[in-house]
Amino acid sequence: MTGQARQQNLKTTSKMASKTIHAIYNDDDLLMQAVKQVRAEHYHIEEVYTPFPVHGLDKVMGLAPTRIAITSFMYGLVGLTVAVLMMNFIMIEDWPQNIGGKPSFSYIENMPAFVPIMFELTVFFAAHLMVITFYMRSKLWPFKKAENPDVRTTDDHFLMAVDAGSHDVKKLTQFLYDTGAMEISLIENEEDH
């Protein structure tokens, strides 16, 4: 087969099915190193599955920085506002309370007593709404079937899914072995595309 024909052949197969290579690593440092090498060779990493958050992996993979911190800050402000309005209604307006022998019936003068509640609700709103946001963004909900390609990634293995695309699979496989992968499998996904 000539070079040109071979190229043609590969092109047609990639149209029919997308090929993904799953490389499994058993150490997070090794994985980090491998991600760097794979990206340096301009291969496309579709996803990395890890049993625990690997510090710095997002930066190495070149993912866009998370915006969850911004949402968290805003949720915190919502919580603070809810706390202020709630305590003002309950303790000052609806049923005025004598707080610490200082019955001034003014929110601001009794504010120190409400600070723990303001703090707690700020944290409560920020934490819970942040988690819910994270679930929604990750398309997670109760009873959802796991998208995890290999159950060992929930235990002690790390899986890197590399898009084989139009690359030479043999060469790519060899390359991944050299980065320290302990197991490599080629996944042909017919349903895609």
Binding site: G56, A69, F73, I99, G100, G101, K102, P112, A113, V115
Partner: protein
């Protein structure tokens, strides 16, 4: 090796000279007779005089007055409503005479706390066998080099108080514990087992000696480790640091009662030691970050990367919140319970020191929280410097509000004596710290965690 830039030396000396002029003129302008006080009040127009008497009147109705009178203390600094004009003027005279001493004392203590807090932070790094921070050890050692200097000055100031050259420590007045005297104060007499001049000085000597001994030996071992073949000196420092930290937290707590809380001898708070500690740590870590950034800008400390600054900024952020937490814990419980002998402390501060008392919540809490919350901002050096300056100003105010109400009462102002004292001690601090940095290589190269620290990456 770092060499002291001649510009920096000149800068420090100018600060010291200008500061000294401020301190001296503060002492010279302090009134020596009640006639001068009267004149000063008149020259300020109605403003000060009438303000003062208005405050005095309001005192006669609040709890402060009730509490003080119940204790039979005719001499307390804040609130007694004096019948005669002359007694009132004399009271103001004492406050005004105390002011330059208090200003000097606060500035001295503030910079001592920076060195002491750094020493404690350094001890924690050793005891925890921290891997991220060894590149900063020489910077910390440079800052703690100010500790011996500050200790000597502070001890001299305490001696001057003990020998009644100044009267900033009210409880040192022997009449208060003399049952025969008309000024006899039952509460202070009851505390005289702890609060008496000889024991006070002995304690101060023990505290200062203990801290300085650890500083001397840890620095010596750190330099010996540079040329060692094994980790012997590191291990010695590790053990010594663990011991020092125990000694430190006990003595720091007692120190805070002696040197700060005793300005209000009737009042007490059980978390005062922690509160002072939090302020000390946040100032110390801020200064570590600032000195590191300054040295980096001058082209030294090439091994200190943004991640190290990031971590220091996280500590600034965290300890600012910790300080606020303790401030609030102390305030809220006393405010809520509203027990007269406790609440006087805050009544005085809110009535006479409203702006600095609440203002420091902005500088020490709101400002650092908002500026350093974003992860990326902690890596922007000028952001850290800017926040650091505000934090340090806020922590000075914190100390100011702890000391001044007990020594000068309503006659406070941030003027010549205060600013002069800050400038003087700042100049001295810069001079001592940056001179000490020239004495040893800026990298403690043989530290067993050095490789980890150099490669540290957040």
């Amino acid at each position: 090796m770092y060499t002291l830039p001649s510009k920096l030396k000149l800068f420090a000396i100018i600060f010291m000279v200008v500061g000294a002029i401020g301190i001296v003129s503060g002492f010279l302008t302090a009134p020596s007779t009640t006639a001068e006080v009267k004149e000063m009040m008149a020259s300020h127009g109605d403003g000060h005089g009438s303000d003062h008497s208005a405050a005095e009147e309001s005192h006669s109705t609040n709890e402060t007055h009730v509490a003080e009178e119940a204790h039979g203390n005719e001499h307390a600094q804040t609130a007694d409503a004096h019948d005669s004009e002359e007694a009132h003027l004399e009271h103001t005279l004492h406050q005004m005479q105390n002011r330059p001493w208090s200003a000097l004392y606060i500035a001295c203590l503030f910079f001592l706390f920076i060195a002491l807090g750094t020493l404690a932070f350094y001890g924690i790094q050793y005891a925890a066998q921290a891997g991220w921070s060894p590149v900063l050890y020489r910077v910390m050692e440079g800052i703690t080099a100010y500790l011996p200097v500050a200790s000597v000055i502070l001890f001299v100031l305490l001696l001057l108080s003990a020998f009644h050259i100044n009267h900033i420590f009210h409880w040192m007045d022997p009449e208060l514990v003399d049952p025969e005297s008309s000024h006899y104060d039952k509460l202070i007499a009851g505390k005289s087992g702890w609060l008496n001049v000889p024991f006070f000085l002995i304690r101060a000597a023990i505290f200062l000696a203990g801290w300085n001994l650890y500083r001397y030996f840890s620095r010596r071992n750190s330099i010996r480790q540079d040329d060692a073949d094994d980790n012997r000196w590191f291990k010695k420092n590790f053990k010594m640091s663990a011991g020092f930290l125990v000694f430190f937290i006990v003595t720091e707590s007692m120190m805070s009662w002696d040197w700060i809380m005793s300005f209000d001898p009737h009042w007490f708070s059980t978390l005062f030691g922690w509160y002072v500690f939090a302020g000390m740590m946040v100032s110390a870590i801020t200064v570590i970050a600032m000195v590191s950034i300054v040295l980096k800008k001058q082209g030294y400390l090439e091994f200190v990367n943004d991640s190290h600054i990031h971590d220091l900024a996280k500590y600034m952020f965290g300890f600012s919140i910790f300080w606020t937490y303790l401030w609030f814990s102390q305030f809220m419980l006393i405010w809520y319970a509203n027990i007269p002998e406790e609440v006087t402390y805050f009544v005085t501060r809110i009535e006479d020191y409203k702006l600095p008392f609440f203002g420091m919540l902005v500088t020490n809490f709101v400002f650092p929280v908002l500026l350093l919350m974003n992860s990326d901002y902690k890596r922007v050096n000028w952001f850290v410097i800017l926040t650091g300056i505000v934090i340090l100003a806020g922590q000075y105010i914190n100390l100011f509000v702890m000391v001044m109400p007990g020594t000068v009462g309503t006659s406070w102002f941030i003027g010549l004596p205060e600013i002069g004292s800050i400038l003087f001690f700042f100049g001295l601090f810069v001079f001592v710290v940056f001179t000490a940095l020239t004495k040893a290589p800026l990298l403690a190269k043989r530290n067993p965690f050095m490789k980890e620290s150099k490669n540290y990456h957040y």
